[in-house]
């Protein structure tokens, strides 16, 4: 009788683990894809698009992704949350092109080193769109990756050594702890009358103290891991990390969108190889 209730409890916990993973996948379709496939897709997608600076291929691929994301239920809020630094950086890189790019075509404004011409306007637009076209889908895919799932994939699919992968994973958790240590060390130095971290020596001393603390934390972590039999031989993995057809579809889709966009640019004659200088 007790055995039956115990196994029922286990089943329900296991089910709740499954359910929580499933609910994650529902709110974030990216989470349903293997992290390794996401990385691979991001690289294959970026390479063709990095060859050209034109507005057609960038605009097309960016547009396709935005439609896809909407269809998959990834909200604009999620997109902005994961890509906001890029959304700020893209117009800035465009602006520098606008003001300083090699002049070509009609020149509209000239002031000291600044020259705004047809060429620079076109380049500015193209660069802005390009940065967004490569960056937005890549960040949406990669920023949400759960480090634990990435570690699972690296160890089980990419066959990286468990020691390296789990060490890195545990270190990710320590990063947050070190932030608290930093605050605490700074306060302790102030209490000892040594607070002036604005001076170089003060800053160096604090950095050194933090390094020592980090090493101590690392040693303690290693002890805790060893105490749980880490490194004693063959190990199993609690979560399976497999590549499925869905992962293949994602990789193919990413590469397909990039190639189609570049193809379109070639067909319309707007393709502009990086480094080929000003347009005609």
């Amino acid at each position: 009788m007790t055995g039956a209730t115990a196994s029922a409890a286990e089943a329900s916990t296991a089910a709740s683990a499954e359910a929580s993973a499933a609910s994650n996948a529902r709110t974030d379709p990216v989470a349903a894809v293997n992290p390794l496939a996401l990385w691979f897709a991001a690289v294959l997608y970026s390479l063709p698009l990095l060859t050209s600076v034109d507005i057609v291929s960038g605009g097309t691929s960016l547009g396709v992704w935005l439609v896809l994301f909407t269809a998959l239920g990834i909200t604009p809020a999620t997109i902005v949350k994961r890509t906001w630094p890029l959304l700020l950086a893209a117009p800035l890189s465009g602006l520098s092109m606008l003001l300083y790019a090699e002049p070509g075509g009609t020149v509209h404004v000239t002031w000291w080193l600044v020259t705004v011409s047809d060429n620079s306007i076109e380049l500015a637009l193209a660069i802005t769109v390009r940065v967004l076209a490569i960056g937005v889908p890549t960040l949406v895919a990669l920023v949400g990756i759960d480090p634990t799932r990435l570690a699972d994939a690296l160890a089980q699919i990419a066959r990286l050594p468990a020691r390296f992968v789990l060490g890195a994973l545990a270190a990710v958790r320590l990063a947050g702890v070190l932030a608290a240590d930093h605050r605490s060390l700074a306060q302790a130095r102030r209490a000892r009358g040594l607070s002036d971290t604005r001076s170089l020596t003060g800053w160096l001393a604090l950095a050194f103290a933090l390094l020592v603390t980090a090493m101590r934390r690392g040693t303690m972590l290693a002890t805790a891991m060893e105490a749980r039999a880490f490194g004693s031989g063959e190990r199993t993995w609690a979560r399976a990390s497999r590549l499925t057809r869905r992962d293949a579809v994602v990789v193919a889709l990413a590469l397909g969108i990039a190639l189609a966009a570049v193809g379109l640019a070639l067909a319309t004659g707007t393709y502009r190889l990086v480094g080929s200088g000003g347009g005609a």
Binding site: M220, T223, A224, S232
Partner: protein
């Protein structure tokens, strides 16, 4: 499958066992003969430096090989060397932060099973059962960073139980926890069926749970061994002398208030104090001839409407407090309520989120602001000194002597060398003058951290959990230092979970309770 999970309790045998760490001249443990029968629950005691942690690490098989140290004799689990049976014994360390390995609850418990190559289905069954055994009922993807200290220690125990060990080893598992958290951990331990060895200074709390007490002798061997009643009845005073906390015996600390009233010995025994009100009260310090500062004297430091919190979010609001000369004030309350942050506001180490902390004109004399957090660091030294919970955080020099000289040099004290000598003598650190501060034992580090603060004679002392994890000897020395500081006209503010400390030094008490805001943050 189920049968394999609940493995047999282990039998421990130490015969002439000893261990010397590679960096040390003297062995940490030597000549130990001990048999622990399967299923026995042992409370392991001993003065600091007796080698309790080394023995636990030895049993857990993580002391390392001949490069890490030299072993003598034999230490076996069920007849085979402990070092070659990783996973047979499970160890939980003192610091909750150090016990957590992975970012989510389920993964952290599964980690040990994975390392023992347990099949996947069986892992999740064990995870569920172990979490159930320690009473942690969260979803498996709960981030471990969101757990309280007590929950983390229970998580660590679950992680060890999932490995189905025959021997459970706990190294001061509740030292960093508040009462509620410590009780949670003990409840979880009570559910286990393995052989158990626990090291903890809070002897009283474990008595109902263990059936044997073993006391290690620092020089090697045992001071006492047997059922708790017998051990404490027969060897109580010897144990006390060795720094062991003996149940029911509370240290006496002399309080000599300035003024006409006679000096008194204040015991930390619960029945000798009537004041058990949890709220802020002022039965001793502020009234009567006991106190040097009359109520007319302005308080040294005043907090008004202070809000404190973590990461810019307020956990506790509207805290008012006055710190008066000749008075020792204690701040109590559950983990995470903002006690330390509040104390650090008083100490001028951080600024309050709301409200203000103001020093009296007398205390602030010579500075440019009445607000301690605006003072230059050197100006704090002679005004408000802070003793941190983790002594190693506040060490900045390479030897004990240099460590003590830092403060006096910064304030330009006269006869610095003589001052340092006197402090070394007073805190029994003379023989360690040239040692690196971080190589000292826990008790020695605590004494040094207090000495570094006393070196510049600040008017106000702020202490964060000064007694946690300390043996009776260090505890008493510490309480006496604080008492002497207060009774000679200084002020002390201590954040503590320690009831004995509150009874001796709680002239006035402030209890910070979790507020609605705090609960919202935890949820």
């Amino acid at each position: 499958m189920n049968a394999s999970h609940s493995s047999r309790p282990a039998r421990v045998v130490a015969s002439g066992w000893g261990w010397r760490h590679a960096s040390r001249r003297l062995p940490a443990v030597s000549g130990l003969d001990l048999v622990i029968e399967p299923g026995e629950r042992v409370l392991l005691l001993g003065p600091s430096g007796a080698g309790k942690s080394t023995l636990l690490a030895g049993l857990a098989g993580i002391l390392g090989d001949s490069e890490d140290g030299a072993e003598a004799g034999a230490l076996t689990l069920d007849g085979a060397p402990a070092a070659r049976q990783r996973g047979r014994a499970g160890l939980v360390l003192q610091d909750p932060e150090a016990n957590t390995i992975l970012p989510t609850l389920g993964d952290d418990v599964a980690f040990g099973c994975e390392n023992l190559a347990v099949p996947r289905d069986e892992i999740w069954r064990r995870v569920a059962r172990s979490l159930d055994a320690v009473g942690l009922r969260y979803p498996l993807d709960r981030p471990t960073a969101h757990l309280s200290g007590g929950e983390r220690q229970r998580l660590a125990i679950a992680g060890v139980l999932a490995m189905s060990p025959g021997l459970l080893l706990l190294d001061e598992p509740t030292a960093n926890l508040d009462h509620a958290g410590a009780a949670e951990v003990r409840r979880a331990v009570a559910q286990t069926r393995t052989t158990l060895v626990v090291v903890d200074h809070r002897v009283d709390e474990w008595l109902g749970l263990v059936d044997r007490v073993v006391v290690l002798e620092p020089a090697g061997g045992l001071i006492a061994d047997g059922p708790p009643d017998t051990v404490f009845a027969r060897a109580g005073s010897a144990l006390e002398a060795a720094g062991v906390w003996v149940p029911g015996s509370h240290p006496l600390v002399s309080r000599t208030p300035p003024g006409p009233s006679p000096s008194s010995l204040r015991s930390s025994s619960p029945d000798e104090t009537s004041d058990e009100t949890p709220d802020e009260s002022s039965p001793r310090g502020t009234l009567g001839p006991v106190c040097r500062s009359s109520p007319a004297d302005p308080p040294l430091v005043t907090a008004a409407g202070v809000a404190v919190g973590h990461g810019g979010r307020a956990v506790r609001k509207d805290v008012d407090l006055e710190v008066r000369a000749g008075e020792s004030l204690v701040i109590t309350g559950p983990n995470g309520v903002g006690k330390t942050t509040f104390a650090f506001c008083l100490a001028g180490l951080t600024s309050p989120l709301e409200g203000e902390v103001r020093a009296s004109a007398q205390l602030a004399h010579g500075t440019r602001s009445p607000h301690p957090h605006r003072w230059r660091a050197q100006q704090l030294l002679t005004r408000i000194g802070t003793v941190f919970q983790r002594p190693e955080h506040q060490f900045v020099a390479r030897s004990v002597r240099d460590e003590l000289a830092v403060g006096p040099r910064l304030v330009g004290a006269r006869d610095q060398s003589a001052l340092v000598d006197e402090l070394l003598e007073r805190l029994r650190l003379t023989h360690l003058a040239h040692a690196h501060p971080c190589t000292l034992s826990g008790g020695e580090q605590r004494r040094l951290s207090v000495a570094t603060v006393l070196a510049t004679a600040p008017r106000v002392l702020v202490l964060d959990e000064p007694t946690f994890g300390q043996d009776r000897t260090t505890w008493t020395e510490l309480a006496e230092l604080v008492a002497a500081h207060v009774d000679s006209g200084g002020a002390a503010v201590s954040v503590t979970h320690d009831d004995d400390y509150v009874r001796v030094l709680g002239d006035r008490r402030l209890r910070l309770e979790a507020t609605a805001v705090a609960q919202a943050v935890r949820a």
